[in-house]
């Protein structure tokens, strides 16, 4: 068995003034080539986890090793090889789709020809070719979300971190994104996928972890996880069983 692409060891992060840690003593490993679902209710600590995985937030305790490098120490080198689609639409709204992607491509340090071919390719895949020269502010939520994902793919990352990539989009856009991620999975790209959509997660994830109040509740392949709770018919029932039915803010 190959070395995990990500190793998280006893990770703890507590915000200043908070009564309890957002992530508490969390340990897990993400296999190479997997689609790893990071699941949990609001406030579970998923976004904090994503920020630490990207090297934009340092843990109070513990460490993250990614592709054999320590994220806290070699964050810049790691960010070259990962693509991140944050939960926010991280785009310039008064620029066109093409201008946005070209600028981000340049900031990744890519050559003009490479950027152009990547842009054409991904706009085609995500059905945005005819919108290439329209300003992002005129796009629907689904179009923005797809463009947000393309911006994370331009430099062909070996690890893709997606934070709620299908939030607020219509069924068609969601299907398009899920289909693309499945294609990407076949190419060996590792995907860390944070989402509320358990049906989606069940469909594409090879591994998953449920986090709640900063703690790891359960971890494994979907089959392993479900086999531990045979009374649950699907992942949603399991999720509610593990995290409770109380509404989270």
């Amino acid at each position: 068995m190959s070395e995990p692409i990500v190793k998280i060891n006893s990770l703890t992060r507590q915000y200043k003034g908070a009564s309890q840690p957002a992530i508490s003593n969390l340990t897990l490993e993400i296999p190479v080539g997997s689609v790893y679902g990071l699941l949990g209710p609001n406030g579970a600590g998923k976004s904090t986890m994503v920020m630490m995985l990207c090297g934009l937030m340092n843990p109070n305790e513990g460490s993250i090793s990614m592709m054999g490098m320590n994220v806290s120490e070699q964050g810049s080198e790691i960010r070259k090889r990962i693509g991140v689609a944050p939960q926010e639409i991280a785009l310039f709204h008064t620029l066109t789709a093409y201008e946005n992607l070209f600028y981000f491509g340049r900031m990744y340090g890519l050559e003009s020809d490479k950027i152009k071919s990547s842009i054409e390719n991904y706009l085609e895949i995500f059905g945005l070719t005819d919108k290439a020269h329209k300003r992002v502010q005129t796009f629907s939520g689904g179009m923005k979300r797809r463009l947000n994902l393309i911006a994370a793919l331009l430099h062909d990352p070996t690890l893709l971190i997606l934070d709620e990539p299908t939030a607020g989009v219509d069924v068609q856009s969601r299907n398009m994104v899920i289909d693309f991620l499945q294609q990407l999975k076949t190419k060996g790209v590792t995907i860390i996928y944070s989402s509320h959509f358990l049906e989606e997660a069940e469909k594409i994830c090879t591994n998953l972890a449920v986090i709640d109040e900063g703690h790891l509740i359960i971890e494994g392949t979907p089959t392993q996880v479900m086999s531990k709770h045979t009374d649950c018919r699907n992942l949603e029932e399991l999720f509610l069983k593990l995290t409770g039915k109380t509404i989270r803010d």
Binding site: M51, C54, G55, L56, M57, N58, G75, S76, E77, I78, R79, K80, V84, P86, E88, I89, A90, L91, F92, H93, T94, L95, E99, F102, Y103, F104, R106, M107, Y108, G109, R135, A151
Partner: protein, 425 residues
């Protein structure tokens, strides 16, 4: 490559922001024109004395004519003849005229008699003439010339008019004493060939400005307002700069840039380079307004002087300082409301202290000292030295170095804050 890409991105963002474009280019142009027009009259008022003064000549003799002639020659005071003293008082009291000169009846005769007595007294004291029964009082005023002032008259106008009148009277007295002296020396015989001396011409005073230029140069509304408001506009670059920066942070595009590997230097440097260029474009436009548009509007033309290199270097230094300050405001504050409120008020304060609103020489001494801490003052002083005094680049170097140091410090702090916020500990 990354810096160039950021410059292009900033350019696209700005040209698609009509409000930002208006704020950067249109509003400053309007501002400089309006301020130059508004301040034209006060500047002329401050620099040039032009006063209409009522003159009541109840004497109707030579003294009145000499006063009238003297003020006609001076050009600063225009005498309006009025016959009635009461009318003159009414006009001054109503504020229609700032002052009135009232020459009493018999003033010439009285002054002539007085000057004659002075000479006689000298002759008697020196034993050159015999004393007679008439007692000579040389220290008693012989005429009561009245100067009426509007209570609202400026102190400098009042003093200037009083001293001008005293000068005229002194000249007349001296002239008449000389006449009397010649008459006494000729023992009362007619003195057809008496010497006439124009005392005003004995000493020639040539007035010039301590400028290297041949043409007459002085600070006027255009010379003050164009460079002053140009710098104000350049410092207001913080509005689009901070606005866009915080918008990027709030909308998330800044997060993506943080997620991209490598230093954040190209992001900051690209923004700096772009807004620095915008400041220079602002400068060229505003100067062009001063040179070409101001004369069309009936104002003086902006005189730039001959040190073009010095002007270009100064413009670059001011642009650097303005962009550095804008970046610092953009990076430091977390919301647009905080940044723009603090930024705009601070620029207004720096401008007021720096002498943008009014020249610092009209400020109290304490404020003048404080104003020397404002980067706008460093720039304004440099431009004034270049435009009016024909200064060399070396002469303005201290102020330029201060501007560059200010830019470096603000830029360094901005980079430090931006970097420290990229990764949260």
């Amino acid at each position: 490559m990354k810096i160039r890409a950021t410059i292009i991105k900033e350019f696209l963002l700005l040209i698609r922001d009509p409000g930002g474009m208006a704020l950067i280019f249109l509003m400053p142009l309007m501002l400089v024109i309006v301020m130059a027009l508004i301040q034209d009259a006060p500047f002329r008022d401050y620099q040039e004395m032009k006063l209409d003064v009522i003159f009541v000549d109840n004497d109707s003799d030579s003294l009145g004519r000499k006063i009238e002639k003297a003020f006609t020659v001076s050009g600063n005071v225009h005498l309006i003849q009025v016959k009635d003293t009461a009318e003159a008082k009414r006009e001054v009291l109503s504020g229609n005229y700032k002052a009135a000169i009232i020459l009493p009846h018999g003033a010439s005769e009285s002054l002539r008699s007085k000057t004659g007595n002075v000479i006689k007294s000298i002759f008697i004291n020196m034993g050159m003439a015999e004393s007679n029964a008439d007692t000579v009082y040389v220290d008693k005023p012989s005429i009561d010339l009245q100067l009426l002032f509007d209570p609202a008259i400026k102190m400098n106008y009042k003093e200037a008019l009083s001293s001008a009148l005293e000068k005229v009277l002194a000249n007349v007295q001296t002239e008449w004493m000389l006449d009397e002296l010649q008459a006494q020396l000729s023992d009362g015989a007619p003195h057809k060939n008496a010497t006439k001396i124009d005392f005003a011409k004995l000493v020639s005073i040539k007035e010039n400005y301590a400028s290297k230029k041949k043409e007459r140069m002085m600070l006027n509304s255009v010379q003050h307002n164009v460079p002053a408001w140009t710098m104000f506009a350049m410092f207001f670059i913080l509005f689009p700069l901070a606005g866009n920066f915080i918008k990027e942070r709030e909308e998330g595009s800044m997060l993506r840039l943080r997620l991209i590997s490598g230093s954040q230097f190209p992001v900051i440097a690209g923004k700096f380079a772009f807004y620095f260029s915008v400041c220079l474009i602002q400068f060229v436009l505003m100067i062009a307004v001063g040179v070409y548009l101001m004369p069309v509007l009936g104002l003086q033309q902006l005189i730039l002087g001959s040190n073009v290199l010095g002007i270009a270097i100064t413009a670059c230094c001011v642009a650097m300082a303005a962009t550095g300050y804008g970046l610092l405001i953009a990076v430091y504050f977390k919301t647009a409301q905080q940044a723009l409120s603090f930024g705009s008020i601070s620029v207004v304060i720096l401008a007021a202290l720096g002498g943008v609103w009014v020249p610092i020489y009209v400020m109290p001494e304490t404020l003048q000292q404080i104003s020397r801490c404002s980067p706008l003052n460093w720039g304004l002083e440099s431009f004034t030295n270049l435009f009016l005094r024909g200064a060399t680049t070396v002469a303005i170097l201290p102020d330029l170095l201060k501007l560059v140091a200010f830019a470096i410090v603000t830029l360094a702090i901005s980079v430090f804050i931006h970097k420290s916020r990229t990764i949260r500990n």
